[in-house]
Symmetry: C2
Subunit: 102 residues, 2 copies
């Protein structure tokens, strides 16, 4: 296998049983997955993987998105505007500071 150049995690609030619950899912993080993957394709950002995850335990700041291996955590990813900001930063090799956590 080839490792992704970047790996974007999107909190899907899955519990152990797999049921999506919790804040990130309730705030619509699941709906952003399709947009995110479409944008990556449109922008030609090959080699970037997107994965939905179980609860990332930062619920009070959700919806959460993490970019690895950069180890950049973003919060308040509530819509396409915030996804665009994150991807703009990725393309520029920078960080969308206004959305970062920690």
């Amino acid at each position: 296998m080839t490792k992704p150049t970047k790996h974007i995690l999107v909190c899907g609030s899955f519990r152990a049983s797999g049921a999506p619950q919790g804040i990130c899912a309730r705030k619509g993080s699941g709906n952003l997955l399709g947009y995110l993957e479409g944008e990556l394709a449109d922008r030609g950002l090959d080699g970037i993987s997107v994965t939905a995850t179980g609860c990332l335990k930062a619920c009070d700041r959700g919806p959460i998105l993490v970019v690895y291996p950069d180890n950049v955590w973003y919060g308040g990813i509530e819509g396409e505007e915030q996804v665009d900001a994150v991807l703009d930063a990725l393309e520029a090799g920078s960080i969308a500071e206004e959305l970062t956590l920690g």
Copy 2:
């Protein structure tokens, strides 16, 4: 929030709907989550987060486990023996080479 010092992803094969399917889940990756979290506590490895994920797209090498921000991908994590090998390496600040991918 405080970022985890290490973040271990365990493929739970979740599809977009949240249903755990696919190879990693069928091979019992879900059963390893509890063991992994117990071992981290027993070893006093504080600050390490564990998160189940959707399909990590390395199904032919599953069950998959990823350690970030190290960006180390492991395959064939079929039981406690392999989890122990990964944690032994983490404690030693090294990598369980025999299980690595990519």
